[in-house]
């Protein structure tokens, strides 16, 4: 069973995303803080990371730098699912590639249906590369 590391600071939203991903057959480790997410990944290696960039204490980009600094996690795809619009963040395809971000989804405009589809696509793409 594939494992998703969900980093979502808002508990009600985290519960919703978790419930749909579980119904799609994923095992979900949900964390609200970046440091907790690193510990969770240490305990159980995720297959996909779904990340909100706007976090308390450490932001999502700090998390990506730390996460990608470990060689064993460098090939794990990251899907950013954030309340920050990509343009406001200054995100462009090159920066996205450098950070290892497979998709950047703007949370207010992303339905559950689209989120599930993107995760499935990311999952299948990762299968193709292994």
């Amino acid at each position: 069973m594939k494992r998703v590391l969900l980093i979502e600071p808002d508990k009600p939203l985290s519960d919703i995303y978790r419930s749909v991903l579980v119904s799609d057959g994923y095992t979900v480790d949900a964390c609200a803080h970046a440091q907790d997410a690193v510990h969770a990944a240490d305990d159980n290696r995720p297959d996909i990371v779904v990340l909100e960039l706007q976090l308390a204490a450490h932001n999502g980009i700090e998390f990506i730098y730390e996460f990608k600094s470990y060689t064993e996690w460098q090939d794990i795809p990251i899907v950013v699912h954030s309340i920050i619009p990509p343009a406001a963040f200054g995100m462009n395809p090159r920066m996205q590639r450098l950070c290892g971000i497979k998709h950047y989804l703007y949370k207010p405009a992303t339905s559950l249906k689209r989120l599930r589809r993107i995760i499935l696509e990311t999952d299948l793409a990762a299968l193709g590369t292994t």
């Binding site: 508990k11 009600p12 939203l13 919703i16 803080h33 440091q35 907790d36 308390a56 207010p108």
Partner: protein, 234 residues
């Protein structure tokens, strides 16, 4: 008499509110979508409550603007204990949504304080909202206390929690950047912190500034409310 409204501060408050209001709206949209997928009524209750909190946010903002245009604010003797109990009751469902333990802690009985009831209720509700939605790291229990204790100047009443990082310095920095930054208190919360700055604006209109404080080993934000001298004499 011409009342001056600090338009810069109101604009920053409005921006922080606009950022903050996105969160309940996303919750409502996704809860509605989930209820269609699961054909469950459970999400409908959450939608109702989330919408109520979003309306409270907007109402508090409108009240803070209204108060800033008032030449003088009508103060009345108010029971701090009753205000905190009512606030806890109002926030109970939200606390459950966030898996947060909500507790009212009053050390003894207090004389009534002089305050504007509506502003005080709105301020503590907004503060409570901000604390409940900011979950601490997983190692710490998510607990929020609506507490009051006596001080030499009056009754210190506020909202306290287990979130680390809420120092006087972080609050001072937050006051300088809120509205211009997406996160007013990045050390504490992932959100804009609009609830905290709305509470500050509401309390400021009663000349009771919000300050960083501690209560039962928890850090938080509190205001010192002056007791009613008139009622003390009686």
């Amino acid at each position: 008499m011409v009342i001056s409204v600090d338009s810069g501060s109101q604009e920053r408050l409005l921006r922080a509110l606009a950022e903050q209001i996105k969160l309940p709206l996303i919750q409502i949209a996704r809860q509605a979508e989930l209820s269609q997928l699961t054909c469950s009524d459970k999400a409908l209750k959450s939608i109702e409550y989330t919408a109520d909190m979003a309306i409270r946010l907007i109402d508090s903002y409108l009240l803070s603007i209204h108060l800033q245009t008032q030449a003088s604010l009508e103060l009345e003797p108010v029971s701090v204990g009753a205000i905190l109990q009512d606030t806890a009751h109002r926030l109970d469902r939200l606390a459950k949504e966030y898996n947060c333990t909500l507790e009212v802690h009053l050390t003894g009985r207090y004389e009534p304080v002089m305050a504007n009831r509506q502003s005080l209720e709105a301020a503590y509700t907004m503060l409570g909202y901000a604390f409940i939605e900011s979950a601490p790291p997983v190692a710490l229990k998510h607990q929020v206390i609506l507490g009051a204790h006596r001080s030499q100047k009056g009754v210190v009443a506020g909202i306290f929690g287990t979130q680390p990082g809420l120092s006087a310095d972080a609050f001072r920095r937050g006051k300088a950047i809120f509205g211009s930054s997406r996160q007013g208190l990045p050390a504490v919360s992932s959100a804009s912190g609009a609830g905290i700055f709305l509470a500050e604006s509401l309390l400021k209109s009663m000349e009771t500034p919000l300050r960083q404080s501690r209560h039962r080993k928890c850090g938080g934000l509190a205001a010192t409310l002056l007791t009613s001298k008139q009622l003390q004499l009686i």
